[in-house]
Amino acid sequence: MPIGEWFKKQDKRLPENPTLEKRAVPDGVWEKCPGCGEPIFIKELEKNSKVCPKCDFHFPLSAYERVHYLVDASSFDELWANLCPEDPLCFVAGKSYTDSISAAKAKTGMNDALVCGRAQIDGRNVAVAAMDFRFIGGSMGSVVGEKIARITELATDEDRPLIIVSSSGGARMQEGMISLMQMAKTSAAIAHHSRRGLPYISVLAHPTSGGVTASFATLADIIIAEPNAFIGFTGPRVIEQTIKQKLPKNFQTAEFNLDHGMIDMIVNRVDMKRTISRLLDYLDVNGVVG
């Protein structure tokens, strides 16, 4: 699992301090775009789903921002926000897991890396979940796995389409095998949802890798990626170390995955809600409410 790679790397696509934080900074009326280097007014950026209007760079989003840009205003009814991680292995290695959790909680104001609940998209009932990469690299431990399973089951019980936005380094190492088993648990929940004939759309945001890519995130009827997102199983550093050669230039980008038949389409975040709404029109036999 390449979780750690994403912690340390200075990735152009992943500024160290997510924009959500910057907003509090006094001179935060504009932000320099990591894509084109131009200053962008934050107001303008927010109107544009946090996509640079000049170069289409997709700024990282918090899970709540993801939900915000995806569903109808005030339609989101969050569920299970009060699920908190434990430390079953008493994992201490350098930093302790409990310290990591505390730091992540403080940074994000969240209890773990996933937000989920009922919502509507253009008036249609859906179940939605979004991952937050800021919370220990969006890694999947017990809480993420449990919440994915719960929201999927809710969608199954209530005949709702399921939409999950992933952004994750993979399974959460600090919970050991319990994390690995969340891959099986979430996949099994998806299996039962799918067997009911219900639609599931997966959105892969930068970066999606490891155990998340190898479980619920790629088991959707339709898979959409954001432009230029990293999508893969093994992280590039591990591959380079193993095969001892440089990787091809666009390796493991969204575009690479499209060429290799792994995803259905790449959609600019600005068009994401509209595209998902159009797709649901084809997939959702229960139709629009109200």
Partner: protein, 333 residues
């Protein structure tokens, strides 16, 4: 004489070599050194116990990786009869790092799928050291579906360091190939019995690594990440040395810990020093557990089986749900 030994086994190996020399001396020169030999044998016995009775987690990982450790094919040979190997994913390649086919356990028909490491370098290259490419997972998927169609209980053998970290494996979609195995395993309407016999390395292991009963050999490990991988994340660059040792300790990857956590169901004892010190007895122990699992699970109605498997997975997880507005659904029920 041992062809291969780890550092921590070195003192023992040296004594064993001395013993061999003495014995040679005795027979070649008719030297009267029976007493010396007897003494040395006793020393060896004591050191053998001292070396192996309190293995560290990292030493046990090493034993799980020992080149002489019995492979999936050895257990198939020892435990089953009338094995017929099946090949191919019907799409790209026959991945030899995963083998499978029909077999009988005490006369009962089953489907087997397992990671297969080699016995030597040549075999290991052909089998990619037991690390599957996507076509391996897709071959497994095909065999799972065959098992389902013909109502054959599935027995899997887990022994891989993990998915292969290579360009082609990514190009051909190892993530989705693993995910599709996980999905399929969760809805198979036949008993699924897993035996973790050596290395259980992350997603590559999990692809055939959960079911209705998980049996684990005493020194096998099953982990979200290899100790080296974990170490290289925690202590940059220290992956190969002390780092891996420390990581093996914190990851909780051994049978006893996993039994305690409720991830696995039963442990099969290995002889002191590891399975390769007594493959026949390990095979006997494993066979007993496999037969028991088969017997226990065969009577369960297929729908019930799938439900139980799901409930089992649903119950894996440690979290606190603190009060506030109550959770809308209790999913465990």
């Amino acid at each position: 004489m041992r062809k291969f030994s780890y550092d921590f086994e070195r003192p023992l190996v040296e004594l064993e070599e001395q013993l061999e020399q003495l014995k040679h001396l005795e027979s070649a020169e008719k030297a009267d050194i029976a007493e010396e030999i007897a003494y040395l044998e006793k020393q060896i016995e004591k050191l053998h116990i001292r070396t192996y009775e309190n293995l560290t987690p990292w030493q046990r990982v090493q034993i799980a990786r020992h080149p002489d450790r019995p492979r999936t094919s050895d257990y198939i040979e020892a435990i089953f009869t009338d094995f017929i190997e099946l090949h191919g994913d019907r799409a790209f390649r026959d991945d030899q790092s995963i083998i499978g086919g029909f077999a009988r356990l005490d006369g009962r028909k089953v489907m087997i799928i397992g990671h297969q490491k080699g016995r030597n370098t040549k075999e290991n290259i052909a089998r990619n050291f037991g690390m599957p490419h996507p076509e391996g997972y897709r071959k497994a998927l095909r065999l799972m579906k065959l098992a389902d169609k013909f109502r054959l209980p599935l027995i899997t053998f887990v022994d891989t360091q993990g998915a292969y970290p290579g360009i082609e494996a990514e190009e051909r979609g190892q993530a989705v190939a693993i995910a599709q195995d996980l999905l399929e395993l969760s809805v198979l309407e036949v008993p699924v019995i897993v035996a973790v016999i050596g290395e259980g390395g992350s997603g590559g292991a999990l692809a055939i690594g959960f079911g209705d009963r998980i049996i684990m050999l005493e020194n096998a490990y099953y982990s979200v990440i290899t100790p080296e991988g974990c170490a290289s994340i925690l202590w940059d660059g220290e992956g190969e040395g002390r780092g891996a040792e420390k990581a093996a300790e914190v990851l909780g990857l051994h049978a006893d810990k996993l039994l305690e956590l409720g991830i696995i169901d039963v442990i099969v004892k290995e002889p002191l020093g590891g399975a390769h010190h007594g493959p026949a007895s390990v095979a006997r122990g494993l066979k007993k557990e496999l037969a028991k699992a088969l017997k226990d699970l065969s009577s369960i109605d297929p729908n019930e089986l799938v439900k139980k498997r799901y409930t089992r997975l649903r119950n894996i997880g440690y979290y606190t749900e603190y009060s506030g507005k109550p959770s809308v659904l209790d999913m465990q029920s």
